[in-house]
Point group: D2
Chain length 362, copies 4
């Protein structure tokens, strides 16, 4: 229990370092009898993988997943699904020059304090490389959820100070994938791309916000007190590298509203109950209300930059960190499928938990 | 496991409804040999309790806590600390008129969907009344943490569109408690109080933001992947009733910064390592770095208002909800000690977990 | 997490000391909508309670349970069921004379080593008094299980060297309750009663074996690897005070058999599959097979005796422990309902977990 | 959460089927900074592996373990240790003839009921092949425990009706490994070997009992109520394939004793406290008392036999199961290292948990 496991029923454990031979994971608790679509899993991995475009890190990883257990006659067996992804392009020497230095806003110092040592090869397991395994687990969760028609769409809402203005109410995947930054507002996307390229040229990085929308979530998922559905989503999102904030529905802006404006009134359209507005973001009292679940996640600018930076080494001596290596000028486009993957794991877990609430045993 | 338990090692389970005889809780995993200061626990309860001022709900609850186990010769025994708080002023009849109605942005509909029934007496366990028990557990966690010098200060950062402008770097409790809204910026506090009173007069409610600062957290708490310290804080905060967002350090604003601005450079002052800035909010790579932990929590306007509202009943018929009962025009001042309590539970849990990382067994 | 919680989905947390005002518990995860039969709960408590006959301890406890949450309009709400049982007849002074002594085969020394202190008033929470709360939780689990026709019967199989010889294949409750030792073989029961009375007269104690049979368990409960159904039953049984062993089906005797004798062959009677023998005890490969689940639990002689005993005090000085206080000459008759209660919690938990195996979501 | 994870802090998750390419596992929560002895791990695997002697199954598996994460510069990093063991000699065709049949006392029927399908290739994950991964995890736990001088010795106590009579008080590994059946009583070992060979010739199998002794366990491990140390050991042992019983200290025999005989009196030898007898088996009130922990595990005769057996297929038709394939005439000699591995995981987990009881934070 060092925090490498996520979920209570659909339970994912990740392993592997950025510069080892493999990263991988084990899913225990995937329902049995699910026929997996491996192309769909690879599609999600491709959306996350490095080197996918001129605005991502140039590290080249095929990121092909190999399953080694839990599948028989092409269906899940109910036993652990274990999988591996090879690290093809790990260049350990890239990192040797910073072996004893504490890079600003990296995990170098904290890891050293916690574990009494430090894996300086690309940050070991503090590297975002491990998120590839989350995408695999999330892709499987999404396939299970498709059986009850639940779908996900995540996209870039802002990069730096450019916020998308014309996002469709319910964007589709094609719109998201139509540009390098994964923003379904084409015009804003263009400006975002230019910003990222400019920042990259400066050897700098920039942050942004990912929005996620989950459709067709049935009412009744979640729990009223500590395991509120939004609480589990918040944990999932803040567990993603570089994330600094989470908000659901009206979020921080909603704090400026009055109750009479913010309250979502119920209406009945031919027996289908819905709310006129959705400031709640699809969750009330910790439990889904049948409306789309809508939330945002803030990502800081990537800490690895090419510009020189002041810092200290482990003896406390002043050093200058000289940027080398490959890095992302903006993590947001690659974070989109990770947000979706984590959201899928949360929703599936709560659906499986929900089966236990009313006694309908066997 | 219906989500009424929080924490892994310092493990709190709450129980009780808003309109039953008691609410209460059980803490399993509190270290043994801790001498408890019951006045300090009561002090925190008083900061949360209803009826404490003219800008809170007028429900009158003494909120006195009675411990029934886990203490012997005035010290914790290491066995469960169970406690009860009587519900003195529960008026069930206040709620009977909305028995079959779905109040906007309440848990009425979702609870009904999840459990197949609904406790209409003040929302049962979806009422924020249960947070009193969190305050007890948090007050105990804070007392344990005092032994290693860790301290907490939470305060109101904004109410509605009024954001405090002159908050001291490290406010003290007296400054926080010097006014009804718990904002350590006196001038802003005055404006906030006026806003809350105005809103109250309108029969409406307003939201706001609570900020929390944790001092003297040692480096090394947290975990690199799913159980990042900020992830557990985010879950804790989003589990509080009416919260809609969480951000750590630079948060959503930080997404507009560049990496070269946002990175927190390390410096060495006579052997004490610190960062020049604290955009990270005290956590890097999921693990505390020894700087103050700083985060914010967004609270929506309370859903219970006096103004008439449109909605439907459980048969789908249109109804008008007429506001009655006692409610808070703004939950933020009472949320301050709840935020602190939840933060204390997270930090203590991670300290106790951290004992297991390096093997120093017996 | 100091080990006072049992179960994953139907999750019971106990609290309270032998000599405090109350013992009690919280069940989180009980399905909603269950109408509880409080007389049935009290009936089970009466079967466990002290002072029930001349062969049990003479401590007098009415053991009446009071529920304080989780019930609305007489049905479970799905939220925590908290309950209290008052300690009416706790005589702390009975124990003061052994305050610093380590009683043989008690938890005095180990508790002192673990927690750095010791609750000498009747052992605090190491006293079997806490098992009353298990009986309440188990009685509720049994009521839920009745809805799917699962039933339990436990009884005394042996006391000292007297083993029952004519136990009916499937004894009923009346047979079990027809005598003080709870053995459905009347003749053996008589001999057992005499043995217990004789041992009591000597100021001594004696052990015995409880057998439990669970009828109508559907095939498919359990899990193939670590959470085998028999593994969870074993843990449940060894968690009961004074238990020293567990065996399922053929148990230790079965180790002397050959595979060709021990294997349970399948047969088909008009579409109902069963095994000709049941040496497996109703579980194969960790998963129930639809046959009755049958297991035994060994209970040592109670450690509290009236005879003088040599020991040491906490300074290592030799002392003589003089027996005083009230105690049971044989714990077995009162252990019968505890075994049943723990078994019921295990079975219900696995039924609720089982709902998650095949995806049939909403 | 389908039961493939064991342990709370030192947390092991296994995966892989008998007839896939690999079996493997992930340990999350191993302390950082431990230098692993890979030869010692392989030594334990060799003790468990098939084909090790003429009295085990002739399936040939090198059972070499490959670590793929969690180790840097030859020490554990505190992050997950993932490992793989290749399945070299899986012959799926051996099993095709029983594809639709329910073998007596196998998991065929129960698996089919639980998961809606069945992996007929050697039982998939219900095969004891998965226990190889437990041995790896246990070997690592043992290495960590060596640092505090805790050691384990397990051995065969009986096979069939032959019980060892002259077992040394504290046998050493050489004595255990001096014969094929792993019984440190040479004479009994010879008789046991002959019995196994005879049974093998008959195409039959036989059961037996493994005893385990844990030396130098400090007082204070365990917990007073549900997570009693013996309860966690019982669960661990009953989770091993083919185990049918567990007893600690005096066990089932102890039920025939009187309290005055069974009680373990405390004595003081130059400041070292111990008990004169050890009927408690090293645990009192759920917590270790500093004496050796001693327990026994019953293993039934292996279900796979060569003799013809009656059974039915999944349509309920009568069939005759003809024994083929490779199997163990007696599982006990190979179970010895598995018992030890599981015990090591339990003890390490409780040591790490114990760090949290008294607050000595950082």
């Amino acid at each position: 229990m060092s925090g490498n496991t996520f979920g209570k029923i659909f339970c994912f454990t990740g392993f592997g370092e950025s510069h080892g031979d493999f990263i991988g994971g084990v899913i225990d608790g995937c329902p049995s009898g699910i026929e997996l679509d491996f192309n769909a899993i690879q599609f999600e991995l491709n959306r996350r993988k490095p080197g996918q475009s001129e605005i991502t890190t140039q590290r080249k990883e095929p990121d092909e997943v190999k399953f080694i257990s839990g599948i028989f006659e092409s269906k899940t067996t109910g036993m652990p699904l274990a999988f591996l992804i090879a690290n093809a392009d790990a260049r350990s020497k890239d990192y040797s020059h910073i072996k004893d230095m504490f890079r600003p806003s990296h995990a170098d110092f904290t890891w050293h304090q916690k574990f009494g040592h430090r894996d300086y090869r690309g940050g070991g397991r503090s590297s975002a490389r491990e998120t590839a395994t989350r995408v695999v687990a999330g892709a499987i969760a999404k396939q299970v959820l498709q059986k009850v028609n639940i779908s996900f769409v995540s996209f870039t809402n802002s990069i730096g100070n450019i916020t998308a203005k014309n996002i469709p109410v319910n964007p589709d995947l094609d719109q998201v994938e139509s540009n390098l930054v994964r923003c379904p507002d084409k015009e804003s996307a263009k400006a975002m791309e230019e910003l990222v390229k400019k920042v990259k040229k400066e050897g700098d990085t920039v942050g942004g916000v990912v929005e996620c929308r989950i459709n067709n979530v049935p009412a009744g998922l979640g729990a009223p007190v500590f395991d509120k559905l939004e609480a589990d989503l918040a944990k999932a999102m803040l567990s993603i590298n570089a994330s600094k904030g989470f908000e659901i529905g009206s979020g921080f802006k909603g704090t400026e509203m009055k109750g009479s404006e913010h309250n979502d009134s119920w209406q009945n359209a031919d027996g289908k109950f819905s709310t006129k507005t959705n400031f709640s973001g699809g969750i009330q009292g910790g439990v889904s209300n049948g409306m789309p679940i809508v939330f945002k996640v803030a990502f800081k600018p990537v800490a690895t930059i090419i510009k020189d930076q002041d810092s200290i080494d482990s003896d406390g001596n002043k050093v200058i960190i000289k940027g080398k290596g490959r890095h992302d000028p903006c993590v947001v486009p690659r974070a989109v499928p990770i947000v979706e993957a984590m959201a899928a794991m949360v929703i599936l877990d709560h659906i499986m938990l929900n089966n236990t609430v009313i006694f309908d045993a066997l």
